[in-house]
Symmetry: C2
Subunit: 589 residues, 2 copies
Amino acid sequence: MSYRAPVAELAFTLRHVAGLEAVLAARQSDLTPEDARAVLEEAGRLAGSVLAPLNRVGDRHGTPLNDGAVTTPPGWREAYRTFAEGGWNGLSAPESHGGQGLPLLLNAACTEIWNGANLAFSLCPLLTAGGIEALEKHGSEELKAAYLDKLVSGEWTATMNLTEPQAGSDLALLRTRAEPNGDGSYRITGAKIYITYGEHDLTDNIVHLVLARLKDAPAGTRGISLFLVPKVLPDGSHNDLRCSGIEHKLGIHASPTCSMAFGDRGGATGWLIGEENRGLACMFTMMNNARLNVGLQGVAVAEAATQRALAYAQDRRQGKAPGAEAGGGASPIIEHSDVQRMLLTMKATTAAARGICYLTAAALDAARGPEGQAALDRASLLTPVAKAFSTDIANEATSLGVQVHGGMGFVEEAGAAQYMRDARILAIYEGTNGIQALDLVGRKLPLNGGATVRAQIAAMREVAESVLKDGHPGFGHTAARLRAAIESLDRATSFALRALGSNRPEEALAGATPYLRLFGLAQGGACLAKAALAASAALRAGETDPAHAGRIALARFFAENLATAAGGLEQTVLDGGGFVQDAKLALAG
Amino acid sequence: MSYRAPVAELAFTLRHVAGLEAVLAARQSDLTPEDARAVLEEAGRLAGSVLAPLNRVGDRHGTPLNDGAVTTPPGWREAYRTFAEGGWNGLSAPESHGGQGLPLLLNAACTEIWNGANLAFSLCPLLTAGGIEALEKHGSEELKAAYLDKLVSGEWTATMNLTEPQAGSDLALLRTRAEPNGDGSYRITGAKIYITYGEHDLTDNIVHLVLARLKDAPAGTRGISLFLVPKVLPDGSHNDLRCSGIEHKLGIHASPTCSMAFGDRGGATGWLIGEENRGLACMFTMMNNARLNVGLQGVAVAEAATQRALAYAQDRRQGKAPGAEAGGGASPIIEHSDVQRMLLTMKATTAAARGICYLTAAALDAARGPEGQAALDRASLLTPVAKAFSTDIANEATSLGVQVHGGMGFVEEAGAAQYMRDARILAIYEGTNGIQALDLVGRKLPLNGGATVRAQIAAMREVAESVLKDGHPGFGHTAARLRAAIESLDRATSFALRALGSNRPEEALAGATPYLRLFGLAQGGACLAKAALAASAALRAGETDPAHAGRIALARFFAENLATAAGGLEQTVLDGGGFVQDAKLALAG
């Protein structure tokens, strides 16, 4: 059982949940939804035939480091070449630099496809995409001319060098130093850790984006600058940087996580991106995209785990399900309601997270069109939810995938465990999910005095109202349960905004994690209901695709079995972190 | 940071949650609570100094198989000898066979300690304990004379051979055959998988308990018999059995999971335990114990993960916590409320699961005393909750342990990931947690027409009432939230009993998993509140141990932040599996 891109479902979500038509119209693009679907089909073919077969190979092989050189697993180089030559690397990069200039929304679906097939592989182009974005927005014309085309084409790859041993979530603690050479270049000295694809053999050059501190820079995050530090310098010589170690990790074994040493021999040569001491601002401009991409990785690995668990449950026979014929032998375990509950939980949370991620991508696209800032604010609001909710459910779904397999799930050969191991990093990198929750409550709820979040809740409410009006019997209690979740979110939002506005921010922030989960359940339920409403309309219009009834059933399952957690989450948020005062006492015992 | 047995907490739980004094009194034991505590201290020393240091070694080394021989990791043999020579193997085994005859309740605390230090190691004596129980209750006098003393002393170990490739959860599908030799022995032929410690180098002999089918036995589970099949026969010759393979697993790498081949050369020699075709009944008599032990493994690994995460969070500095001095540098991450929430969730769920497991052990002890059947019924009711809730929270807590470590958690060197990998089997083996939930709802709720579960709920209610009366301000909303959870459980129980009694069992069974979680939250919350009430009384009596205030704060955290999920779970149970009808449509898409 290998990953297959769920193209029909992705296309349906693009159109009926995220509003692909509106995105295309706002860009005055001549791309049609049919073109978009053709892109997905093509991506799915490549993912299924080239990337997915390498997923287990990569897990077993890892990326050994010898004398500073990192070897990727067998087949990796060829796959990377195929990927780059297909133009996939620059799908949403500007056409002026050789990209395809497609909407981020369509790129989001493709990102899901690559990562569903092979998370460890797909991290490499994901990092390059971040480098392209930073360079495009903040790089000088010279730097762009020298590096951008080759990054877009995939001839070279990019990395992000942020973390240092003492500076993980807290970039204010960075120590890597930069000194001007006087010729416009800088000497970079320092040690970085957790650098994804910091060294590899896929391309001839690697473009490192490095956060460092100038000599007289202010302390804290306002004294950090961003530099471009290539592995190979323009004159062809090797820069003064090397991979000094590779982490032995729980998952994504085929993605080399490097410790990088800059300046062993006096300093690596780099060039400033953007202004001095404004490095963090440069990073922030690509943060929405990067965090969304990690959310999409969560959706992707959850989808892959779901496909594998479904296939196993259809095949494996144990026990007799209620209603099975007497004497007919054991039933496929998919007939047992507790197995169905696990599979439906996997599928429904995956679809809900997908909806949230695609909505976020559509908002980023819309921000470039006439809607402008309002759409950007919406994207900013949704981004921490897209990142954290999707990666939380990725942990849950991949663990359920192991459970569906029973004892076989614990055996690495089955492949279910790899998804769980690979997924585990997603809730951690690109800002831990705890930091996402603090960002959502502390920075995003107050946007426009709360108007951004209020508008988003109003849009969810409309969906719930439409379900009530639709009347398809398959919806069961969907409208009531979804409405209850949205009202819980509304009350929790009011509580948080009040606390933030009354100089009692800790009361809101202590409940940030349950608040984010509550937001994800309400928004995710609304996304599923939106898809189900479109399905219901299609059925009324005479379409006979059985997937439509499935969409209604999935929305119902989510509302009746998962969104029901909303009330408890609201209560916890409203208790206002009463635990904080005595937390240390409780933890000391 | 290595595991340290939390002796004070275990002793407090034994006394104030599980009622150690009552257990000792009912056995007319001259053991005092102080003696019990001394046993825990001693166990803690051994666990900390001998077993815990081997935990990482075992994970890295695994158990290679060569020519049928399995090599345990370096240090394993010496540790096993120390463990056995200390008399720990037979702690609750009968004194008539060289055991210590201590209460199961005390043994439960020791089981937690061994597994907290080293899960992979401790599985070996756990399996042996199961073998001792089966043999003691059902073995002939000859078999007991030949095997029981050596199993109790730990000179030999025991295994359980149940699973076959086609028969995992469904033992009716077993195919291993047994034929009488005419001399009272049988020839066993067949293949078994997932046999824990099926082969190893710790002892000279291994006593396999094997489920097999006699020639003319009825089909299904009523035609299964249990046999004792030793690796080395009484005449010193090697029996016709071998380890044919070792699984490459996600976790517990140092516990050899063997495929066993019986009868390559005509048949392995074995002896019947109990009556022909009654093998499953023999297995069932030890099921309460075995499932409780797996629950304790969950508590143990969650405790170990919590200790490690706490130590890391006290040490690691990132960001500035609210209220931290200006200019004082970064705060330890334990000062941040979202990290506190993770740590408190780990600690509170661990303590709640511990309470449930110890209550179950106390009920098993009480079943041997004057209370008899009523206590056994209570143990039967609690057992699936002890197994499934504890192992579910073990998955959650060990994953949170990774999260608290940030990027370091994903690196194997930190040790957090190993706990997560090791824990993952617990929800699967000894009956998957889905099967535990079905057992709870389908078989245990109807015990005595529902009187057993009603009595248990009444006992929880009393605890909530006592919290209301206690009035310690640290309780916050504990009484109200706990009471709400208990009433949710009560209503969900009534719903399930009605459905079961009205020939609509599927309506109850479809909600079995959320029902079990609901039960665990209410019962776990009651256990924590019971401990907190004892702490509050101790404070009133003038005790100054700061751990008492911590117990109250922990009970509060659980009630306000975790038990709040009860209402949503109730609603899902009451929706009665409305999803089942359309489940296949939703899964087909």
